[in-house]
């Protein structure tokens, strides 16, 4: 198990390197220069020497390949470099905002899991009945409603119904759970809806497949209570694919965050990302993408491990 995990972790490295390389050069195609933004962004009329001096100071005058080597060497030592905008370590910039985004993501996941399982199961059991259709509408809705709009609508409704808006400054959950949740529960809803929908759909379809399996017929032939047939025999098999999907959906979750944080003005990773894109803060962008990619890879690893826990057919390598 441990060995396997380590092996898999090692396997993720090439992927991450690929991400880093691809990203680095993709970004360097972006026209424009952060120094210009800094010095002239607000109409300052500084002379070219000043700009050059600044670029030199930030080491942006060096040939691309040198910068690249520098960057990769940094990565190798686990150093994400310095934000070109604030000139603080990228990792610092990220960590400040990570807690919030992470919490929203987790809330969304919890929300999704809690809702999707009963939803999907009901739809499968009452297939082609009105229940199924309602669930189908709800879930496809989840795939269709833009999370940022959903967020806006939530805000609108809160305003219209209670003339109340969530607080704008972040209080960690361990300091004041109420304040914390009253701020983050809404964005979590906004991004969680899709998450929930996708999982529910997966559960439905895989449960349908499982229910058609021979061993379900066997169970019935044994005279097992219908409740048990579903809970013990069917569901356990059906949940596996759902877990995978949750892993893959993580990519969408992040996307949801990027836009939703705009709507709710959350000072999180998504917000930071949009800012750094608009400022050409390449180092920060690289740092964040690599971190997110890392998350993604890890999560899918965890999913595989979970698989092993649920499915005896899958053995831990020795």
């Amino acid at each position: 198990m441990l060995v396997y995990t380590l092996k898999r972790l090692l396997l993720t490295i090439p992927t991450l390197i690929g991400v880093a390389v691809l990203l680095f050069f993709m970004l360097r195609i972006v026209p424009g220069d952060i120094v210009e933004v800094k010095l002239r962004g607000d109409g300052g009329n500084v002379t070219q020497e000043v700009v050059d001096a600044e670029r030199k100071r930030l080491g942006l005058d060096r040939p691309l390949i040198v910068q690249f080597g520098d960057y990769m060497w940094g990565l190798a030592r686990g150093d994400l470099g310095i934000s070109m905008w604030t000139e603080r370590p990228v990792i610092e910039e990220i960590l400040i905002r990570l807690e919030l985004s992470l919490e929203v993501a987790i809330l969304a996941t919890i929300f999704a899991t809690l809702i999707s399982i009963p939803l999907g199961t009901a739809a499968a059991l009452f297939r082609n009945t009105w229940i199924d259709y309602v669930v189908r509408i709800i879930t496809i809705g989840g795939l269709s409603i833009p999370s940022f709009w959903f967020g806006m609508i939530i805000m609108l409704s809160l305003l219209a119904l209670f003339n109340w808006l969530p607080p704008i400054t972040f209080t960690p959950i361990y300091e004041d759970p109420v304040a914390n949740l009253s701020q983050l529960i809404w964005p979590a809803l906004a991004v969680g809806y899709r998450y929930c929908a996708v999982t529910a759909r997966m559960i439905r379809s895989s449960l349908l497949e499982v229910l058609a399996e021979d061993y379900i017929r066997t169970a019935r032939a044994k005279g097992v209570y219908e409740k048990l047939v579903v809970s013990r025999h069917a569901l356990r098999n059906a949940l596996l694919p759902a877990i995978t999907v949750m892993g893959l959906e993580f990519a969408f979750l992040i996307g949801g965050l990027v836009v939703t944080e705009q709507v709710f003005n959350l000072n999180g990773i998504g917000q930071l990302f949009v800012q750094s894109v608009s400022r050409n803060d390449f180092m920060l962008i690289q740092g964040m993408v690599i971190m997110i990619a890392g998350f993604y890879v890890i999560i899918n690893l965890v999913v595989d491990l979970l698989y092993a826990v649920f499915d005896p057919r899958i053995r831990y390598g020795n």
């Binding site: 933004v37 607000d42 009329n45 070219q48 030199k56």
Partner: protein, 505 residues
């Protein structure tokens, strides 16, 4: 509101952007000033009650030689930096040397403005003498610039870039903390050299990056003020929401957006085309409409309307692009285009990707030009690519902006100098006459004559239609009624040291 100021209390206000570094010398964004001003003093400053009158800050008094070449300042005694080191004329010298001739690796955006300073002498700790090479009618304004925060010679000697990341000033407040992505905090400087100031015990500048968020905070009382300015829509909404708890102060703004042509790119090398496009813009109508939904409002020439040197409306309407008879103007525009063989002109309009007020301006222009049969593709891009395009000159038409802190023409007019004189001239034209007029107004010390030169320059500029202010901004500041002592001004860069702000509760 002639009340006796109350001492004490904690003040939260919003800053709608977070500065990447602390040093105003190397910055042009108000984010830095709203962040740093309370910690620093300047040599002179504007008296916002009688703007644009200038008063002393660190300087107790000053004299100017008749030939306008020598400026002598007498400084306050007993001024101390936050770290306790006494303030002397040496610090002024160090600061201004850093501004006019920054050492290696130091960014000074004010280099050009102080180019005329020949030498700085410090005969004694409380006297500093500036000697100029040429007379400069704007010099006093430069000394009053909020960007020229005074640093300690000691610190600069230790590290020329000290002020980028650390703070040690003579200002009314001392630095407490800067929590990234959250806020900056300061507390009263007990031995501030102006007795009895500041009133506040402490304050927090909270970064609110979304306008909506800022307004929510204001409404919820999480912040009591935002000093940059909001859009009319926001104002109306807040007034509706908060009624008489809210104070609304308005003023025309020292900012404007300009229509900018790349005079090297045909057909925009043809004055008729440029002219036609400017004439097609219904500024007077547009200003009424845009005033409802954006921070754009006043119609004006190269100098802020309403300021002493501004061109009066009666004169303005005679200039191309400012006519009130749009039917005629548009007809003329079409004629010019036809004449230039450009009836069905197509081009790309570059614009910055900022919701307020750039996007509305862009939408407005596209619509205006459609009305004379010109098809425009509106290209909004982030600042970096935008600037890149502007500087490299591969654009045709763009929305340019100018960001000033006062009405002094010299700063604003440098924008119009020939490309050969000013590499930042994005229209890339060379026009000896404009340069001549600029120089004249700069050296002219008689106000009337100076206005004459400026209007001549303006006329020349608009007839050649290289670039032209579209509309000037309109500043609306919302504060809770409990916030007292803060003074409204035409620039959001001025008067942010919070020394006289107090809370009425």
């Amino acid at each position: 509101e002639a009340q006796q100021p109350k001492r004490g209390g904690h003040f939260n206000f919003a800053i709608s952007a977070e500065t990447p570094q602390y040093d105003p010398h190397g910055s042009d964004t108000y984010a830095t000033l709203h962040f740093s001003s309370p910690f620093y003093s300047t040599l002179l400053r504007y008296n916002l009650s009688k703007f644009p009158e200038i008063e002393g800050d660190l300087a107790k008094s000053w004299t100017i030689s008749p030939d306008k070449l020598t400026y002598t300042f007498t400084l306050h005694e007993g001024v101390k930096f936050h770290d306790g080191t006494p303030f002397t004329s040496a610090d002024i010298k160090a600061t201004y040397d850093r501004l006019r001739a920054p050492p290696q690796g130091v960014v000074s955006n004010r280099r050009a403005t102080f180019a005329d300073i020949e030498s700085i002498e410090t005969p004694n700790p409380t006297t500093v003498v500036f000697k100029l090479s040429k007379a400069n009618s704007s010099m006093l304004d430069h000394f009053a610039s909020p960007w020229n925060t005074v640093y300690s010679a000691k610190d600069l000697a230790a590290d020329p870039n000290f002020p980028r990341t650390k703070i040690n000033g003579t200002g009314p407040f001392t630095f407490v903390e800067h929590v990234k992505g959250s806020h900056v905090a300061g507390k009263r400087n007990e031995n501030y050299f102006k007795k009895g100031l500041p009133y506040l015990d402490s304050y927090r500048g909270i970064f609110t990056l979304q306008a909506a968020a800022m307004l929510n905070a204001l409404q919820g009382g999480q912040v009591l003020a935002e000093f940059r300015g909001v859009s009319p829509a926001d104002r109306d909404r807040m007034v509706a929401a908060m009624g008489d708890k809210l104070r609304v102060e308005e003023s025309s703004w020292t900012l404007n957006l300009l229509v900018l042509f790349n005079t090297e790119k045909p057909p925009f090398n043809d004055v008729r085309v440029r002219r036609a496009l400017l004439m097609a813009i219904d500024r007077w109508g547009g200003s009424q409409g845009l005033a409802k939904i954006s921070t754009l409002r006043a119609v004006g020439g190269v100098v802020r309307p309403g300021s002493p040197l501004a061109t009066p409306e009666a004169e303005l309407v005679k200039l191309p692009g400012f006519s009130k008879d749009m039917k005629a103007a548009r007809a003329e525009a079409r004629r010019l285009l036809k004449e230039a063989g450009q009836e069905n002109l197509k081009f790309v309009l570059w614009n910055r990707n900022l919701a307020m007020p750039y996007t509305p301006a862009g939408i407005f222009l596209v619509d205006q030009w459609r009305q004379i049969g010109v098809e425009v593709e509106h290209k909004q891009s982030d600042t970096a690519p935008y600037i890149a395009a502007m500087r490299s000159g591969n654009y045709e038409v763009a929305i340019d902006f100018s960001n000033l802190f006062n009405d002094d023409p010299t700063l604003s007019l440098t924008k119009y100098l020939s490309a050969s004189k000013n590499p930042l001239n994005l229209s890339r034209y060379d026009d000896a006459e404009i340069d001549k007029l600029y120089e004249l107004q700069l050296r002219e010390t008689d106000l009337q004559k100076r206005r004459g030169y400026i209007q001549a320059l303006e006329k020349r500029l608009f007839e050649q239609a290289y670039k032209q202010p579209l509309l000037w901004w309109h500043r609306i500041v919302l504060t809770h009624k409990t916030v007292m002592g803060w003074k409204m001004s035409p620039s959001h860069n001025l008067g942010q040291d919070l020394a006289e702000v107090w809370l009425n509760q």
